[in-house]
């Protein structure tokens, strides 16, 4: 009998194994009887199912099992809790940090302005020292703007992760599912479609990761010399 390829051979092997199992399970049933039933079924189906169809059906069944397993794994992550509770709590905490540091900065600035106002009433040598100190405080207070921008970037990223999780939950239809399996890998989540993550490149760069004032000055100078 000519071979129809590896899939055909695989199916033949599987069929032989199945026959063997049936023979073990039902020793009083002759293989010829099974063959008759199979022939009868195939004749009724009129060749509707070919070897390739059978392969396809097997693949579909495997795919269904994989999807079911993935859904169970995602359910085990309790992603709905992450979207509904953990991320909002984290963003609230970060917002609170911004508010508290902003309030503290305002209080520092107000006190510093009062101190600065005393400079006019002091002898010159003391006024100079006082103004030098208050200037340093004013400069340092700009940390609030930088940290506020950094935290805003993180909050925006968390909110996008929250949206992506909601997208995954909606996509795999996880309503009423109970967690059964261990955690799904982060790569599976990362590979899913959905809202894209915002870039963390905008806003203040991390120390050492971007140009400083001297770099900027050199760049501006090079542009200016190029346009002269």
């Amino acid at each position: 009998m000519p071979s129809n390829g590896p899939e055909f051979d695989r199916l033949c092997l599987a069929l032989r194994q199945r026959f063997s199992e049936i023979g073990t399970r039902y020793p009083h049933v002759a293989p010829e009887m099974v063959a008759e039933v199979v022939e009868a079924v195939l004749s009724i189906m009129g060749g509707v199912i070919s070897a390739h169809d059978a392969v396809l059906l097997t693949e579909l069944k495997d795919l269904g099992s994989t999807i079911a397993k993935a859904k169970a794994e995602i359910a085990a992550l309790r992603v709905e809790e992450i979207a509904a509770s953990h991320i909002p709590a984290a963003t609230d905490e970060l917002d609170a940090i911004v508010q508290h540091t902003a309030a503290a900065t305002e209080a520092i600035l107000e006190s510093c302005e009062k101190l600065d106002g005393l400079a006019d009433k002091l002898a010159s040598k003391y006024a100079t020292v006082l103004q030098s100190a208050t200037t340093r405080i004013f400069e340092a207070c700009s940390f609030q703007d930088i940290t506020g921008q950094r935290i805003s970037k993180v909050v925006a990223t968390l909110k996008t992760i929250e949206a992506r999780i909601a997208h995954i939950v909606a996509t795999v239809g996880m309503a009423n599912m109970t967690p059964e399996a261990p955690a799904v890998s982060g790569q599976q989540v990362a590979n899913s479609s959905g809202p894209s993550l915002p870039s963390l490149e905008n806003g203040p760069p991390l120390p050492g990761a971007a140009m400083d004032q001297s770099d900027i000055d050199r760049l501006l100078a090079s542009i200016e010399s190029g346009s002269d």
């Binding site: 305002e106 200037t135 700009s142 703007d145 806003g203 501006l220």
Partner: protein
Amino acid sequence: MDKTTNILIVDDYKTMLRIIRNLLRQIDFHNVDEATDGAEALIKLRTGNYGLIISDWNMQPMTGLQLLQEVRADARLKHIPFIMVTAESKAENVVAAKQAGVSNYIVKPFNAETLREKIEKVLAHA
């Protein structure tokens, strides 16, 4: 350097406006006005008499770059020196600002000396 220059500082973060105003006072610039967004800044610029604009880049809805472009497109305002103050230190941003006609560019966080040096430079060329 003319310390009587009227300066408009523009930032949507009021704490930063307060910090810059104080630093300007420390380096003897006392004629300082504030705007919290680009639209307010344009109204003040078109009705006032300013000799220097110090603006943040990262503002909504009008960015500092858009404000700069508006200023440079206005015949009555285009001569006013414009210093961009921002945490955005990427080269493409600096180039974009320069192409739009920025006079100088200060990276946050900065100190009073940097502010004084940049103001001195742009007013000398004004």
